[in-house]
């Protein structure tokens, strides 16, 4: 290598500074945006390590998958109820009068390359999204993560759940197939049941009496633009508050209300969370490949006069359907009006109560416990037996309502009469939460008195003494648990470069 080029390289390196091109780019950015200090703090941001903090990530990443697959689907879906004659590769439906919405969904499923996979992934991701939100919310509830100062984020999260359910229902309705059309019919009737404003609301949402021609185009724009934008904005707010207020953490060695112990954003958390995004995407793709979901060619296009047996909505609508099934047929008629209580109470009042109690819960708990302190350390669920028991009772209640949405299937499967199944579910819905509350309370109390609860168990070594007595001594903690016993340290700050190769006289290593 010539001397001149070596000098040249050296000059370049000198100009670039110790961090080379990346450092230069960062400097240019910092000149304009002033990001160096904040960026450094962000790289050092600590994420506590606990498996339960991953639940919210599942929700976030399934939402990412929803956005990506959803964009793909909008390229081919036609939101129109104009009728066309179906001529496609699915021969049993050939020559049928169908809507463009159904026709284009069939086109996505059978003709568009990768279309069926994207459709099934989109549907699976939605079911996972809502499910992950619910489980994440249960984690936040049972550990008391919603307490001051995080009440606002609890509210945003709950709103996200409602929007996710609503947008899921809208999307489920878009293909205009027989099953989802029945779902829209039920939604129409539920709106209609609201006293005073119900029929106006239903007429304006649907653009007239059922079925109306406005439904699919309106649902489409709500489903692909308006609600996703709102959800995206709220997710942004949710994450902003999370960064601003920093994570909660479980109590443990060196963990206080004044610090956060865990892994830094870069590189550990970034690696884990990006990997996790891939895992969620991979599992969704595998589900889309191997688990059929919403095969609209088996249902056929919507026809208000037809219906299929054992029709059930997506899982997150199950509790409403169950409530509608088991609520008695009490209708109010008088004063020249009808109030369809048989629909209004289970489908409007009941979810209204559930979600409002959830919204108000942080406030209610502060009122009852008179605890107005700031909390960053999480509760162990067993340490708050009343809250835990209440949450368990509500979940059991919802689960029972969910099961009640399959009374006909249960009756068929177990060869019971529909009547006994219905009455059984009515009793279970009321009785099981009443049993669940004291049971969960008692279990919490028991767990409180169990020493070392929550820690990983180690085997005992049983030995016999000279006197013949048997003594059990626990073995030391597992090796991989030892890491957690270390004292936490601030993220070290490297400011030096990697060492160069030793330089011999006259010879220089070549920069790559």
């Amino acid at each position: 290598m010539s001397d001149a080029s070596a000098t040249n390289k050296r000059a370049q390196r000198e100009a670039a500074g110790p961090y080379g091109k990346i450092g230069q780019t960062l400097n240019e950015l910092d000149d304009r945006l002033g990001i160096a200090k904040g960026g450094r703090t962000f790289m050092d941001k600590i994420f506590p390590d606990h498996w339960s903090f991953m639940l919210g990530e599942i929700a976030l990443y399934s939402f990412v998958i929803l956005l990506v697959t959803g964009v793909f689907l909008t390229l081919y879906f036609v939101p129109s109820v104009a009728t066309v004659i179906y001529h496609g590769p699915y021969k049993p439906m050939d020559g049928q009068r169908v809507t463009e919405a159904w026709d284009s969904t069939m086109n996505i499923s059978f003709t568009v390359r990768g279309g069926l996979l994207m459709r099934q992934m989109h549907h699976w991701a939605c079911d996972i999204f809502v499910g992950a939100i619910v489980v994440h919310m249960a984690r936040v509830f049972f550990t008391g993560a919603f307490r001051k100062p995080r009440e606002l984020n609890w509210t945003i999260g709950l709103t996200l759940l409602i929007l996710a359910i609503g947008n899921g229902f809208l999307g489920y309705s878009l293909p205009d197939d027989l099953v989802s059309g029945t779902g829209i019919r039920i939604a129409y009737s539920i709106m209609e049941s609201i006293p005073f404003v119900g029929s106006y609301l239903a007429f304006w949402v649907f653009g007239g009496n059922f079925p109306g021609t406005a439904t699919i185009p309106r649902f489409f724009i709500l489903h692909v633009l308006i609600l996703p934008l709102v959800i995206l904005g709220l997710v942004g707010g949710h994450l902003f508050l999370l960064v601003r207020q920093k994570h909660t953490q479980f109590p443990g060695k060196g963990r206080t209300e004044k610090n956060v112990v865990g892994s830094p954003m870069f590189p550990v958390f970034i690696a884990k969370t990006t990997g996790f995004l891939f895992i969620v995407g991979g599992i969704t793709a595998l589900l889309g490949a191997f688990a059929q979901i919403n095969p609209i060619w088996q249902f056929g296009p919507y026809d208000a006069a037809r219906i299929s047996y054992a029709v059930q909505p997506d899982w997150y609508m199950g509790f409403l359907d169950g409530a509608l099934r088991i609520w008695p047929s009490w209708s109010f008629m008088g004063f020249g009006h009808t109030i369809p209580l048989e629909v209004f109470i289970p489908a409007v009042i009941l979810p209204g109560i559930i979600f409002n109690v959830a919204y108000l819960w942080p406030l209610l708990e502060r009122k009852f416990t008179k605890d107005n302190e700031i909390h960053h350390l999480l509760d162990r669920p067993s340490d708050r037996p009343k809250r835990t028991a209440f949450g368990v009772a509500v979940l059991v209640f919802l689960a029972m309502l969910h099961i009640a949405s399959s009374t006909d299937v249960i009756a068929n499967f177990f060869h019971l009469s529909l009547e006994s199944t219905l009455w059984g579910m009515r009793i279970l819905v009321i009785v099981t939460p009443i049993i669940a509350y004291p049971l969960a309370y008692k279990i919490c109390k028991e767990m409180q008195s169990y020493r070392g609860g929550g820690k990983r168990k180690t085997p005992n070594i049983v030995s016999r003494t000279a006197e013949g007595e048997y003594v059990a001594t626990p073995t030391p903690a597992y090796g991989e648990d030892v890491g957690h016993e270390l004292d936490a340290t601030p993220v070290p700050t490297y400011i030096e470069v990697e060492p160069d190769e030793p330089v011999e006289s006259g010879v220089r290593t070549v920069d790559r």
Partner: protein, 319 residues
């Protein structure tokens, strides 16, 4: 030789030595773990490439999903393992600063809003009042045209169907139903002639026609002429939530709604016998004309389908 060529070793500022346990990976044998992760990444990459190839040749959907899913999954697992086992194990700590500011800052902020705003508004109460009123009224008024243009007012169509005096009952293909068409115990969905292909016909007018017997059949007092030659007709819309009451249980003479299992007894005026439906299915009065065609005597005597607040606002409705 300039300073640049000097040796430099990584030095941490907070007094951690390079071999501090917290900076070491969690893996006991990092080389092995690295090799395993490398293999995982390799297979993940192969699968992702296979996804591209199968997309190119338009392979079956399950092959696309399997290759993409396996590829992403393996890459993800490898990356998580890299983060968990090969990166500094920690734990690391970060101080949590109180979010609340000092009392002085808080007071200044509150003062800026309350004092400054208050002094301005207090002095110009009238202006603020009128502006507030104007903006409020605009907010309300802006809703009206938006709401009102969304759809028609809930009038006629909720209360009446297309069945008229003399309407022919036709099946879904538009064929008129004749008295000889149905055997006893048979059922057919009928529409008033001309609506069988319209959305509205499907959604509102749909009616089940059942032949119960050979004789004129009376389902309830006052309906002696409604069931000629054993033909009775009920609205097909469930009075619970409007699903089509499509299942006919012939032996029990029940119409069953598959949505929420409401059951209506067709022999006694479709009174709900089970389930959440609160009202009988409205019955359509029929007659048989000289050609033997089944026709309607009139429209239903009450609104069909689920309940709503203004249900009674229909002339002559007793129910």
């Amino acid at each position: 030789m300039s300073d640049l060529e000097e040796h430099r070793t990584p030095v941490s500022l907070n007094g951690l030595s390079e071999d501090d346990l917290r900076l070491q990976p969690l893996a006991k044998n990092p080389q092995t773990v690295e090799r395993v992760i490398a293999v995982t990444f390799l297979f993940g990459t192969l699968f992702v490439a296979a996804f591209g190839a199968s997309f190119w040749v338009n392979a079956k959907p399950w092959i696309l999903g399997a290759t993409m899913g396996a590829g992403l999954f393996l890459l993800g697992v490898g990356l998580v393992a890299w983060g968990k086992y090969l990166m500094p194990r920690g734990p690391f700590v970060e101080e949590r600063h109180t979010l609340a500011n000092s009392d002085a800052d808080r007071e200044a902020f509150a003062a800026a809003i309350v004092e400054r705003g208050g002094s301005v508004v207090k002095r110009r109460k009238m202006l603020a009042g009128i502006l507030g009123g104007g903006m409020g009224i605009f907010g309300i008024v802006a809703l009206f045209p938006l709401l009102r243009s969304l759809g028609p007012l809930p009038k006629g169509t909720l209360f009446h169907t297309d069945w008229r005096k003399g309407s022919y009952a036709v099946d879904q293909t538009g064929r008129r139903v004749n008295v000889g068409d149905l055997a006893i115990g048979s059922i057919v969905t009928v529409f008033p002639e001309g609506t069988e292909n319209s959305d509205r016909g499907q959604a509102v007018d749909q009616t089940v026609l059942i032949r119960i017997s050979n004789q004129n059949f009376t389902t309830q007092k006052g309906r002696e002429t409604w069931g000629p030659m054993g033909y009775v007709a009920y609205s097909k819309l469930c009075t619970h939530l409007g699903c089509p009451v499509g299942l006919y249980e012939q032996q029990l003479q029940l119409l069953v709604c598959p949505c929420h299992q409401s059951m209506f007894n067709v022999t006694n005026g479709a009174i709900p016998q089970f389930g959440p439906a609160p009202r009988p299915l409205p019955q359509l009065p029929l007659y048989i004309d000289s050609n033997g065609n089944i026709r309607a005597q009139a429209d239903y005597d009450q609104p069909v389908g689920p309940g709503f607040f203004e249900r009674h606002r229909v002339t002559g409705s007793k129910l």
